[in-house]
Symmetry: C2
């Protein structure tokens, strides 16, 4: 009996080992989504040549892989990944999985379903991990999100040595449909629990379109250099969620010229303006509360001015449409969690459906 | 003009400095909730004398401050905290705020409203931080949750040197009503974004009762030594969410004697059984999927057996009542995020309302 058990355990371990005999292929050879243009360094959002006139911090943040994902097909029972991070990060309001990890989804009945994350190990830049194993061996389409707040200098995908892995013939994301979201840390993905829970990634799965995440933590202050980059991207819609880090005065000074420039250069592209999240601590810290109110008053004034000047296809989402009424959508008063992100994703999704339908 | 501006800035900075002249008082002198009994080391959940017969890991985890909170009243415009952590933690699926930080709420119109967290700094055991400032100076009641996955050897609360801070005369949590929740890492709070978003803490605010968080990460395997401790706590209800880390065989062997022992020693205390969360990666990893199904089959069998044996006041929450239908409630397939925790809190809340009403 114990001999039989021993044999079973041995065979089982051989099976697992056989499943886990891996070959790795470079992620660059698969399908990439979430990038507006080809860049010299594959996993950065904007090529360094195009950020030279932007603020220094934005130049750095443009190298983070937020919103970038790969799509592939495999019949492997196991999926692994090796990835190299640029920095050993610590972020008090984010999980390591979100800032430096991976997030795997699988296409099931036409919908992207969460599979499992790639957990970064403490202190290591070279990461290696089996993300999922013991799957059935039918051919499936997978989507793997890259880290939100780190840069990935190398990424390779491991599958069983006998399995097929390739770029899908029919990719389940319509790369011809593209939404550009320009914003702050919230757009970049703080404080999602994993890369796929940042709201641009949620929208990507809900809409089946290519979403370009141009979220820049602590930034997105409507600099004209960024406007020039935005208009260089052909998009079906621009979402401007870039109020959080501007002073109310900056909003007053910058919003109109920024938006008018976009409209001038891209006359047929709808623009959705999103108010800043309400800072939850602003219900107590009176200075923060007053500042947030003024930020939103000023973007609202700019919006009304555009309507008055007869600008068309400018849309507006007030913060109250996505904050909920429980004051529980943030990790720290500012940064939305998966709960808060579900709410903003739903509000922007509804608006996008209207806007894209109207076009 | 620039002179006037300079003067304003000077006066403003003096005001901020005046607000931020702090006195600190030991948290132990305020009201503590979330603890079943007094312990020698104030911030641990179970006194080390009472854990000696429990598994070694549980002995350690009982020192974590999950679920413990303090309540105080102050008219200070600023609230700060100094806290000393036992360990410098790294947890891939948790934010540092959740595992090692603090979480402040304020009583507003009879409800607890989130204010702001205490963010731990990287690598430090001695933490010091201003949590909120620039509040109006009416007297308010505050609730401060301690870290979920660390132990706090010291905690003191800072307020303005001229302000009052004291234990409230009328505490907004009914300490005479007590729910004990025994469970795994999920009960302990992985992967809430901050301590107040663990589901026992959500229940505490929803019910206004004292909730005892006996969540032990990687554990809660229905050891009889733990049953003996549970029955030593007078409770209005026991919630047993302790299936996740047991093998299906352990569930079959342990559930009935464990539950019967509780019922025998506490004949009038209702018991709510909670199925294990469905592992999201178990929809792909066939071994994990099959294991989870068996765990829940076996706790369900135990429940039906108890009904058959005419046990009363045993209640049951199936996993499908709280998993949602989007597969998006977890950080890693197992551990609920604020989104997943909102769902389980709602399901357990509804059951508790029924159960406590029926008593």
């Amino acid at each position: 009996m114990s001999y039989l058990l021993g044999l079973c355990l041995f065979l089982h371990s051989q099976l697992v080992n056989a499943q886990d005999s891996l070959k790795y292929i470079d992620a660059k050879t698969l399908v990439t989504i979430g990038k507006a243009k080809v860049t010299k360094q594959w996993s950065q959002r904007i090529d360094s040549n195009e950020t030279v006139t932007m603020p220094k911090v934005v130049q750095g943040l443009a190298k983070n892989s937020a919103g970038i994902a790969i799509i592939f097909e495999t019949n492997s029972p196991v999926i692994a990944a090796k990835w190299t991070l640029a920095e050993d990060k610590y972020i008090a309001n984010m999980t390591p999985i979100a800032h430096s990890g991976l997030d795997l989804y699988c296409l099931k009945d036409g919908k992207w379903q969460f599979v499992s994350p790639g957990r970064p190990e403490k202190g290591a830049l070279d990461q290696s991990q089996i993300i999922i194993r013991r799957m059935d061996t039918t051919m499936k389409q997978f989507l793997l999100y890259l880290p939100l707040y780190n840069s990935v200098t190398n990424l390779s995908i491991g599958v069983n040595i006998k399995s097929v892995i390739k770029a899908p013939q029919k990719v389940a994301v319509d790369k011809a449909k593209r939404i550009v979201i320009y914003g702050s840390s919230i757009v970049q993905g703080a404080s999602a629990s994993r890369p796929g829970m940042a709201y641009p990634a949620m929208l990507q799965r809900k809409l089946g379109m290519d979403i370009i995440n141009l979220g820049f933590s602590g930034n997105a202050k409507m600099e004209m250099e960024v406007a020039k980059y935005l208009v260089s991207i052909a998009a079906d819609c621009y979402v401007l969620d870039c109020i959080p880090n501007q002073t109310p005065k900056q909003v007053s000074e910058r919003a109109l010229p920024f938006i008018k420039y976009l409209r001038d250069k891209r006359p047929n592209t709808p623009i959705i303006l999103v108010e800043t999240v309400i800072r939850e601590h602003g219900y107590f810290d009176q200075q923060v509360g007053s500042n947030v109110r003024k930020q939103n008053e000023n973007i609202n004034k700019a919006y009304l001015q555009l309507l008055k000047e007869n600008y068309k296809q400018i849309y507006y989402i007030p913060a109250m449409a996505f904050m909920g009424n429980d004051h529980e959508g943030t990790a720290d008063g500012t940064h939305l969690t998966d709960l808060g992100f579900s709410r903003i994703a739903e509000a922007v999704f509804k608006e996008l459906q209207k806007v894209l339908g109207r076009k």
